[in-house]
Amino acid sequence: MLPFGYAVRNLYRNKTRLAQTLAGSALVVLLVMGAQALNAGMRRTLNASGSPDNVMLLGAGSEESVQRSEVSEQAAGIAEASLAGVATVMDTRAVSPEIFHMAYLEMPDGSISRGMVRGVTHRALLTHRRVSIQEGIFPGPGQMMVGRLAWKRLGVTPDALEPGTTILLDEIPFTLSGIFAAPGTVMESEVWMDLNDLRTAAQRETVSSVVVRLESGEREDVEIFARQRLDLELSPIGEKEYYERLAAFYAPVRSMTWITAVLIATAAIFAGFNTLYAAFASRVREIATLQAIGFRRSAVLVSLIQESMMTSLLGALLGSVLASILLTDRLIHLSTGTFRLTVGPETLFAGIITGVILGIVGALPPAFRCLKPSLPQALRD
């Protein structure tokens, strides 16, 4: 084996080249970590958004999209009256009729953004237990409250959404009554308002969904209820499953981020081939000399890979530091919600694996090319 120190010192032979390969691998690692962090963040948020105790009653045939679903409001009352095992808080049953509506909202600064508006009653707080009001009060008629990340989604600064300001929905003014938190869920980027107000604004007679929180009851009870009351045309789906399906809806976004990451990484590897080829080619005779002394080709190959791995792992380290500075808790907003990039152990793992792959894959073709000429030929050069 060639001494490790040989590989280390070879790194410093050309500082420009070292800087290039370092920067290149750092960038690729950062990119891969970004893709991983986005996917992890999306998965985490969507997983957290649904509660395992909650069942959504959607209109039959609209299981795919709560926004298209229509449920008669009557159904909420009937469900409340006839379903067993529903959670009860201070004599009120946790049955929440809700309207999901994508609407154009005019911000206090005059800008217009599209956002997810949920029409609710007080009972929403009984079913969505992650929701807690942080500032102000629950919206009554003529009022709205916003999730604490809604500003991002609506394209304004956080302080533009102070309680007391006015937001227009279809030119009707609503006063901001409060700000709520729902840690780690898509609800944090929603706007909540009074159910009746939204029904009027959206010109509909039905609600989108009735969310029921079960306590002692089973999912099966809800399904039996839906089957017994075919006239209500209800289709129950676990809230968790609903958001899991939503996660599947994001699969194309996820593949796009990965494909982009892989494409750029591939381009970087090809650039790395050239750089490393230049680095190794300038040492063909030296490599041949080592073989003349008695080192086997494999020993030389290992040394070249060590050299390349050191750069790529150093780059991975750099990329990881950059990732934790640039990506941690960064918010990305997509149509259904705002996702918080999650830089965790898995992200770091993805970064390190990328570094290892870059090191090995990047070194092999140039190393083979430089080891290919016959020994007498290489000594002659």
Binding site: E286, T289, A292, R296
Partner: protein, 231 residues
């Protein structure tokens, strides 16, 4: 008369051919050569006459197209390439015209390289390296990098590297070709000392008749064939 035991390298009918595109080049043809132990052989001949090719064959860097090369009683022409690397490390030290030192390693580390192929303690290695470097007169340049040495000093480091693993044969391809008169004489004197005092066998290729005079025997290669001229 020399018995077979006294012959370190014996070549019989050695031919080397290369394909150069469509044409076949034959740098060496049916060459017979005996190199006795303790010989200091100078090989002369015009450029392209096959001198380097012959050295490469003697040192196991290249293999003949046909013929046999016996080294210390063992035929090496058919050894697989993997084995040949280990064989070279034990039996031959190669000295190049342009020294071929590894620029990122110090004189000490360059000389140490062949010993890394053996299981040897760090201390034993250090003793061997220091002994080799003082043998070539560079005890005071141990931690210098090649770029901090003169050409003559570099070549002496290269000689120390070639002999540190104690091989029986040293081959040198125009070892003084890039040196001034004084440095060249010092190198030739060193090779003579190695033959005389360390019982090495040296095969040296040279253009320079003065360099050849340092040897015990001179052979002329002409178009791949030997033309013996007694000294």
């Amino acid at each position: 008369m020399s018995t077979s035991n006294d012959i370190l390298v014996r070549c019989r009918g050695v031919t080397k051919q290369y394909k150069k595109g469509e044409t076949l080049v034959t740098p060496l043809e049916s060459l017979d050569l005996d190199v006795p132990r303790g010989d200091f052989l100078a090989m002369m001949g015009p450029s392209g006459s096959g001198k380097t090719t012959l050295l490469n064959l003697l040192s196991g860097i290249d293999q003949p197209t046909s013929g046999t090369i016996e080294f210390d009683g063992m035929e090496i022409q058919d050894l697989p390439r993997r084995k040949l690397a280990g064989w070279r490390a034990r039996h031959v030290g190669y000295i190049f015209q342009l020294y071929h030192l590894v620029p990122v390693l110090t004189a000490f580390e360059n000389v140490e390289l062949p010993l890394l192929l053996d299981d040897m303690s760090r201390r034993d290695r250090r003793e061997r390296v220091e002994a080799a470097l003082s043998l070539v007169g560079l005890a005071d340049r141990v931690h210098h990098y090649p770029r901090e040495l003169s050409g003559g000093q570099e070549q002496r480091v290269a000689i120390a590297r070639a002999l540190v693993a104690d091989p029986a044969l040293l081959v040198a391809d125009e070892p003084t070709g890039d040196l001034d008169r004084e440095a060249a004489d010092a190198i030739l004197g060193l090779l003579q000392t190695l033959v005389r005092e360390q019982h090495k066998t040296v095969v040296m290729v040279t253009h320079d008749p003065r360099a050849a005079d340092a040897a015990m025997r001179i052979l002329h290669l002409e178009k791949g064939r030997l033309q013996e001229a007694a000294v």
